[in-house]
């Protein structure tokens, strides 16, 4: 590692005044700044990483339909995957993968009957939580239930 050369003043012996101490301070300052930059950069990258959000469970009454939905409030297209889960199955009862959602657009996933299945909650893989929102939705006539995914 190349250390700093101090050319401002020297002692009679030709050695820089306070050379070791000032260099150490500068290295420590540099290290602190680099750590701060790395943290800021890391946070920015984390904010852009894809995330999976899930809704709280619901138990809708029979006679309606249920589905997941995703909204993109950002300015660029994003890709989402919606999975609808039930009480009675370990796997999803409906999956919509690779949905491209444009800016300010909302896309609904496959609907299932609340009478034939037991839909309960949604899992949504979205580009980020800043611009994208996901819901579990039940519609029964004019009655609506919307459960947000966090």
């Amino acid at each position: 590692m190349r250390l700093v050369r101090d050319t401002r003043s020297t002692t009679n012996a030709g050695r820089p005044l306070g050379h070791g101490r000032r260099t150490l301070e500068e290295i420590m300052t540099l290290t602190r700044l680099l750590v701060a930059l790395a943290l800021v950069a890391g946070l920015a990258v984390a904010a852009e990483a894809a995330v999976t959000v899930r809704t709280a469970p619901a138990e809708p009454l029979g006679g309606g339909t249920a589905h997941c939905a995703v909204t993109n409030g950002g300015t660029a297209n994003g890709t989402a995957t919606l999975s609808l889960f039930s009480f009675s199955d370990n796997g999803p009862i409906a999956t919509d993968a690779g949905i491209v959602v444009g800016p300010n657009r909302t896309v609904t996933g496959s609907a299932v009957s609340t009478s034939a299945t037991d839909p309960s909650w949604c899992e949504c893989s979205i580009p980020n939580k800043n611009d994208f929102r996901c819901s579990f939705i039940v519609v029964n006539g004019e009655n609506v239930t919307v459960v947000p995914a966090r």
């Binding site: 700093v4 101090d6 995914a149």
Partner: protein, 132 residues
Amino acid sequence: MKSFATLNVQTLALVVAVVLASATFASAAVTLRTFPFPGSELFSGSVACAVRNGGTGTPDGISVKVNVFDSDGTVLASDQLFMQANDADLGTAVDLRTVSPAMCECTMPNDTLFTCSLIYTNGPIHAVVPSQ
């Protein structure tokens, strides 16, 4: 002549200051959006965006902008509301017989004292979709 390392320290300090200043500026106003609402599956009733200010106000009110979007990204209604202290206001309601609202977008001073929701009203039916 300044040493290379000293210049780097100053440059990095400037970069950090700019990044932090940008972050502070970006947090000055926030945009909240509600979770998806199935307006395309409903054929009666109305939807409006609502805003709450849980803090203090100003003589002229604090400006908040709200938009209702449909699922295609079209703005169905847009309002600028002026919020007083401990106030709640409604934006323009849209009719589900003619349009299909999907979300509200609200731009407000902060998300600590202010929040926003999409409200669906249909006779005795009332649903509230929160924002994040």
